[in-house]
């Protein structure tokens, strides 16, 4: 495997342009619901955290799986045991982080008033966090396998797709949990 900058550019440019466009659309959508989120400022504060943790877990999974495909350590099929184990470890870590973060925020609620109850903030974080983690693990794995079978370098494809989708899923799952738990 050799690298040439023109190949790197060719393989990534179209995809990144598409992801950039989706990102700008997302930006304008977030811009329009900003005022609703401003009623509960704590929810705005959750957006970068959901996107950050979800996107990064996907990035770690994607990078690990890509390297393992290249070296042949993981068979590029959904039924590979080591692939499944990798997915489970990511889901476990994600759940743990959001559980701890939810607990921390509901305790913080006693000292800083977030204008919601501790149970509400805990449920919103756990729910939105779990939805984001589960979807992003699945998306990352599917995109890794797909790009590998298409003969593309997963290193160039998986992370851009996964992080862009994570931003959307993070915002949507947050909105969903707010609607279910607090109501809009």
């Amino acid at each position: 495997m050799t690298y040439h900058w023109k190949n790197i550019f060719k393989e990534s440019a179209g995809l990144l342009a598409l992801m950039g466009f989706i990102g700008v659309v997302g930006g304008s959508v977030l811009g329009t619901i900003e005022e609703t989120l401003l009623i509960y400022p704590v929810l705005l504060f959750l957006v970068p955290i959901l996107n950050g943790v979800g996107g990064n877990l996907g990035a770690v999974l994607g990078a690990r799986v890509s390297s393992a495909f290249h070296t042949g350590r993981i068979e590029p099929t959904f039924t590979d045991d080591e692939l499944r184990e990798n997915m489970l470890v990511m889901i476990g870590m994600g759940f743990f982080v959001f559980f701890a973060f939810g607990l921390g925020m509901s305790i913080a609620n006693f000292f800083i008033d977030f204008r919601v109850t501790s149970l509400e903030i805990f449920t919103v974080i756990i729910g939105a966090g779990f939805i984001t983690i589960l979807s992003i693990t699945l998306i990352t794995t599917v995109v890794s396998l797909w790009s590998y079978h298409k003969g593309l370098d997963p290193d160039n494809i998986v992370i851009p797709v996964e992080t862009t989708l994570c931003d959307f899923i993070g915002i949507i799952s947050l909105a969903l949990m707010v609607w279910l738990v607090i109501g809009l």
């Binding site: 900058w5 790197i8 950039g20 504060f45 990064n56 990078a63 184990e85 870590m93 701890a100």
Partner: protein
């Protein structure tokens, strides 16, 4: 599988990420004034941050694979390193130039308007931020891989989280520096 290894190397970073996300959120909140001065800038902020993360984490991921394939043995200044730097820079310039175009296209369909002066300012901010942040993050990516090689850590487990978190904070700070500069000179 090296389950314990990935948990040990990744989990502490995830907790740092929660703090990093909070920091990025606070930086964004404190830049309210300049966002008000350049209407439309807020719309490209998430996409610009995301793109920085994408370009640097794909670089990190490629270098990680190269490391596992044993291609980095001659050091990071080898052809593998140089071609990856050139690829990253080319992608940064290309995508940065696209954001004002996307914004203009969206303004035709979405309920917001941008003037050509504002589009010009956003073009300058986007390109300058893209190139400046690219240089800083390429340097950071190579440092992370070199550091992992030295400490015998798998770069795949740490490069992503560090790059996106540092990328968010650096990109926001650089972007608002340029936004203030160009906004002040032109408006």
């Amino acid at each position: 599988m090296d389950k314990i290894e990935v948990i040990k190397e990744t989990l502490p970073l995830l907790f740092l990420l929660v703090l990093g996300g909070a920091l990025a959120g606070s930086v964004l909140a404190s830049m309210e004034r300049v966002l008000d001065m350049i209407p439309g800038l807020i719309i490209i902020v998430p996409a610009v941050i995301d793109m920085r993360g994408n370009i640097s984490t794909t670089l990190g991921s490629r270098l990680g694979s190269a490391f596992h394939l044993g291609l980095l043995h001659q050091g990071l200044t080898s052809d593998v390193g140089k071609e990856n730097i050139k690829g990253s820079l080319a992608l940064s310039i290309f995508t940065s130039a696209l954001f004002p175009v996307f914004l203009w296209i969206l303004s035709l369909f979405m309920p917001f308007e941008v003037t050509y002066t504002i589009l010009g300012i956003i073009f300058l901010i986007s390109i300058s931020t893209g190139v400046t942040a690219a240089f800083i993050l390429i340097l950071l990516t190579f440092s992370i891989v070199a550091f992992s090689m030295k400490l015998n850590i798998d770069p795949d487990n740490i490069s992503g989280p560090i790059l996106t978190t540092a990328g968010d904070v650096f990109t926001l700070l650089i972007m608002f520096g340029y936004a203030n500069l160009f906004g002040w000179v032109i408006l």
